[in-house]
C-alpha cells in the first residue's frame, strides 16, 4: 500500500466522524521503483491532504517531505523527486492502519489493507 492510497483512506465505522487520517503501524516496508511522472504529481497534489501525507511520511521514516508546500515547489525537480518517492515508491507491506477515533486496527498483510468491517461496526 502506497502513501497515496493511505491519504485517501478513512475509517468508515458507523458513527465515526474523525476517521481520517489513519495512523500507520509499520512492521515491514518495501521500496519499489515507479515511473516518474511530474504531470501526475501536479494533478494529484490538490487532492492530497498534505498534513496527513507529511505526518504519514514521517511515521514511516521519510523525513524529506516539507510540512508546508507552496505551488512553486511543484516546478522544482528535486522536490518532485522526493514527493514521487514518498508517494508512490514506498510500500507498507506488513503492519496496520489505526482509526484515530476508535483505535480500531485495520491490518495490512502482503501490501493489502483489509478495510472490511465486522457486523457490529456497519
Amino acid at each position: 500500500m502506497r502513501l497515496l492510497t493511505h491519504n485517501m483512506l478513512s475509517c468508515n465505522i458507523k458513527g465515526v466522524t474523525k476517521g481520517f487520517p489513519l495512523s500507520i503501524e509499520v512492521q515491514r516496508l518495501d521500496t519499489k521503483d515507479a515511473d516518474f511522472n511530474p504531470d501526475f504529481l501536479r494533478n494529484i497534489f490538490p487532492k492530497l491532504e498534505w498534513k496527513a501525507f507529511h505526518d504519514a511520511a514521517v511515521s514511516i521514516g521519510l523525513n524529506d517531505i516539507p510540512e508546508q508546500v507552496d505551488p512553486t515547489m511543484l516546478e522544482d525537480h528535486e522536490f518532485l523527486q522526493k514527493f514521487h518517492h514518498a508517494l508512490l515508491e514506498v510500500h507498507l507491506e506488513e503492519g496496520a492502519l489505526i482509526c484515530p477515533e476508535t483505535g480500531r486496527r485495520f491490518p495490512v498483510t502482503k501490501g493489502v489493507p483489509n478495510m472490511l468491517l465486522h457486523e457490529d461496526e456497519v
Partner: protein, 373 residues
C-alpha cells in the same frame, strides 16, 4: 509469400474493438469478424511480438480451416511461434541455425486436446454435442498426425467453432496447453514470478478454469470498456477506482494502458479475489501504480474528492448470457434487479462526476453524479 492467417479471440460482441486494434497494425488485412462468435480472422506479416501486444485479444490462433482443412501452414506457424520460445531458452552461445536443427530433431509427437464450441443460431439443435465434435476431430488429428490426445496436460490446443453448418478450426498459439509462450512477450517489469501457497495460479490473460469460484474478467472485456471511454475522455490524469475488481483485470489493464498517468485502485470483499489481484499486481504489475485493498463496496472507506473515475463491470459473480436469460424467461433488467442488488446498492453509495461524458446518441441520459462519502 502470402501472409499467414490468424484468428484472434475476444469476448463475444467485442469484435469491433479487436478489429480497430488490428487495423492499426501495418500490413494487416482483416478478413472477417463474424466467422464465429467472439473473434476476428485476419492476415498479417506482423511479428509475433507485435501481435502478442494486442490488448483486445484473449488468445491468438493459427487459422486451420473453415470448411476446408489444410494442416500444413497452421502447423508451420505454430512451430515458428514455438521456436521463438525454445530459442530463447537455449544459451546465447549457440547460433540460431543450430537451434533449429536441435528443435526439429527432438520434436517428438505432440500431445493435444480439442476444445469445441457449438452454437445453433438458425437451425434446430444439432444431433451431436460439442464433446462429440471434439472427439471426432480428435480422432482425425490422431489418425492424421499421430499425436496423442490428452485432456489435461497438452502441448497443442485445437479449437473448433461450430455455428450451424459452419466449422472454424484453429490452433492456439499463445495460450496453448499449460505452457504459455510468455517469455517472448515480457513487459519491462521484473521477471520474478510470484508463487502462491494455497491458491490456484491467478490467470491474468486467460479465462479462469471452470472449477474455481472466483470469476475472472477477460482482459478483452476490460479493454473494450476502456476503449469506449477513449472517445469521450480528455487526457486522463488522476486516480481511478475499481470497487469490485475481482482478480484485478480492470485496474491492471488501465495502468498498463495509461502508464504513470493514473493511480489505479482495485478492491474486493472476497478474500480469494483480493489474493489473486495482489499476486497479479506483484507479478505483472503493468506500467503504472496500482494498489489492491480489501473492502466492502457498499461502505467505501474513502474520503471525499479523492477519486476521479470509477470503472466497474456488472453483473458480477454470475455467469449470465442471452441463453440463460431466455431459458429463465427474464430480461436483463429483471436479472439485474433480482440478482444484482449489491451492485445497485453500491451505485447508491458512489456517485461519480462524469463531466466530459457527452453521449452522442439521443437516447442516452446524461448522468451527473457527485462524490459522496
Amino acid at each position: 509469400m502470402e501472409p499467414p492467417t490468424y484468428w484472434a479471440s475476444c469476448a463475444t460482441g467485442l469484435q469491433f474493438c479487436l478489429r480497430a486494434e488490428l487495423e492499426a497494425i501495418e500490413g494487416t488485412d482483416v478478413i472477417s469478424d463474424s466467422l464465429a462468435q467472439g473473434g476476428v480472422l485476419f492476415r498479417t506479416n506482423a511479428e509475433p511480438k507485435e501481435l502478442a501486444k494486442l490488448r483486445a485479444a484473449d488468445n491468438i490462433y493459427a487459422f486451420l480451416g473453415h470448411h476446408q482443412i489444410d494442416w500444413k501452414s497452421p502447423l508451420e506457424l505454430y512451430r515458428r511461434w514455438k521456436q521463438l520460445d525454445e530459442t530463447k531458452n537455449c544459451s546465447a552461445s549457440k547460433s540460431s541455425s543450430e537451434d533449429k536443427e536441435n528443435m526439429d530433431a527432438s520434436s517428438s509427437p505432440l500431445t493435444f486436446r480439442v476444445t469445441s464450441d457449438r452454437i445453433c443460431k438458425n437451425m434446430m439443435k444439432q444431433k451431436y454435442t460439442s464433446m462429440d465434435a471434439a472427439a471426432a476431430i480428435g480422432d482425425g488429428v490422431n489418425e492424421l498426425l499421430g499425436w496423442k490426445a490428452s485432456m489435461r496436460v497438452y502441448d497443442v490446443e485445437v479449437l473448433a467453432w461450430i455455428r450451424d453448418m459452419e466449422l472454424l478450426i484453429v490452433v492456439a498459439l499463445i495460450y496453448s496447453g499449460n505452457k504459455t509462450i510468455e517469455r517472448l512477450f515480457e513487459n519491462n517489469v521484473a521477471e520474478e514470478k510470484c508463487t502462491t501457497e494455497n491458491l490456484p495460479e491467478a490467470p491474468r490473460l486467460s479465462e479462469a478454469p471452470k472449477d474455481t469460484e472466483v470469476k475472472f474478467q477477460r482482459p478483452s472485456r476490460s479493454e473494450a470498456q476502456l476503449h469506449s471511454r477513449r472517445q469521450y475522455r480528455k487526457a486522463l490524469v488522476g486516480t481511478s477506482l475499481k470497487p469490485r475488481c475481482g482478480c484485478g483485470t480492470i485496474p491492471l489493464e488501465a495502468v498498463d494502458w495509461l502508464g504513470g498517468q493514473i493511480m489505479s485502485i482495485g478492491a474486493d470483499n472476497n478474500p480469494k479475489a483480493v489474493d489473486a489481484a495482489a499476486i497479479n499486481v506483484r507479478g505483472g504489475g503493468g506500467r503504472g501504480p496500482c494498489d489492491v485493498l480489501s473492502w466492502d463496496a457498499a461502505n467505501l472507506p474513502l474520503r471525499s474528492g479523492t477519486i476521479d473515475r470509477v470503472v466497474c463491470d456488472m453483473p458480477f459473480g454470475n455467469r449470465c448470457g442471452i441463453a440463460v436469460l431466455m431459458a429463465q424467461s427474464k430480461t436483463m433488467r429483471q436479472e439485474v434487479e433480482v440478482n444484482q442488488k449489491p451492485f445497485l446498492e453500491m451505485l447508491q453509495h458512489i456517485l461519480v462526476e462524469m463531466e466530459e461524458f457527452r453521449p452522442k446518441k439521443a437516447n442516452h441520459k446524461r448522468q451527473r453524479v457527485v462524490v459522496k462519502r
